[in-house]
Symmetry: C2
Subunit: 212 residues, 2 copies
């Protein structure tokens, strides 16, 4: 049980608890308890609770963002070489597919995606800035690519439609099967492919909606 490093165990425990209970509601004693480590280990390995959160975010978000960025850049290159605009669906898929595929890559990853979904709406400025700083280049990139895919859209429309899409995505990932309300005949936990298909299909039409 105690095979990985203490540092890794702390990251795993923090990831799981921050996702399930929220950052402020999770005590360091709960983290070190779950990680079977000493309370002071957090200060030794990270320095503070906030630095621990930063490490949790960095560990997974940097590689994930790199994948998403590569897919978007590849799309941009293909569009420039072929001379045709990138398809809206392809842009959305380049962002969403790696996100949900990563979510299904393990229990820690699923918790992390849930944590990220919450970070977007985080009230605490320090935490939200921590997250937004990591997301800003990617946000501007997909905002830019949507402008290439939909040049007739006004900046304001494009900005808000992107936020609507991010809201839909983060809500879908945040819920993580914890529905209070579940009507009959509903699949509560579709896998990554099924959810990606539904989400991209939905957002593509919204993105391409004509402006009144």
């Amino acid at each position: 049980m105690s095979q990985p490093d203490t540092k890794q165990r702390l990251l795993d425990a923090a990831e799981s608890l921050f996702a399930a209970e929220g950052f402020h509601s999770t005590s360091l004693r709960a983290v070190t308890g779950k990680a079977e480590a000493n309370l002071a280990a957090v200060k030794y390995h990270f320095g503070s609770k906030e630095a621990l959160l930063e490490a949790v975010l960095n560990r997974r978000l940097v590689p994930l963002n790199q994948v998403r960025q590569e897919r978007l850049e590849a799309l941009r290159m293909a569009a420039r070489q072929s001379g045709v605009r990138p398809a809206t669906e392809a842009v959305l898929r380049a962002f969403i597919e790696p996100t949900l595929a990563f979510r299904d890559s393990g229990p820690g990853a699923e918790a992390f995606i849930q944590l990220v979904g919450r970070a977007i709406a985080e009230p605490d400025d320090t935490i939200r800035n921590l997250f937004m700083q990591l997301m800003k280049p990617l946000f501007l990139l997909i905002y830019d690519m949507l402008g290439e895919a939909l040049p007739e859209l006004s900046d304001t429309e494009r900005f808000w439609r992107l936020h609507f899409s991010l809201g839909a995505l983060s809500h879908a990932t945040c819920l993580a099967g914890r529905f209070q309300i579940l009507p009959a005949g509903v699949t509560p936990r579709p896998d990554a492919d099924a959810l990606t298909a539904m989400l991209v299909n939905f957002l593509k039409m919204g993105m391409e909606a004509p402006c009144d």
Copy 2:
């Protein structure tokens, strides 16, 4: 400054602070300080911090939900009497229009809508259940009406598309102009009518997207 009742001032202060800082991050001392009331007044008037949150939610959400429910019910009646299915756009508008109009009805209302946007993704089960219990009838109603508007949609598709829509709405209300990233040429704070138009226009197309 201290004109309204202590009870009202506590509700106003709690609403504002819970929305801005989050429930767990807001201390009762901050609430009573802002309300210019004694700390023990919370226990006297409400009983506990959680009961204060419940009162904050009830004060505004019950009347707002009643308006939304009435508009949805009116739509259902009109559809039954005319024999034609309700329009998807009309169903969405019946829910979203009162929500955003209410948001613009005052600073307290805006904070409240922000608070509600957060409550959907709240990690704490007690809080989320508190909120979901108030929202459940309305959720089932709009889920039902979307089924009337889009009978060819599978239950799972309808369920998830509704959640995508709620995610987009809650994200848009939660942000409340607090953007970290704001590209040039973007209107950061559209009024209720403009945001409603953009949102309904976006979601209508997503809702009506053909299934593969």
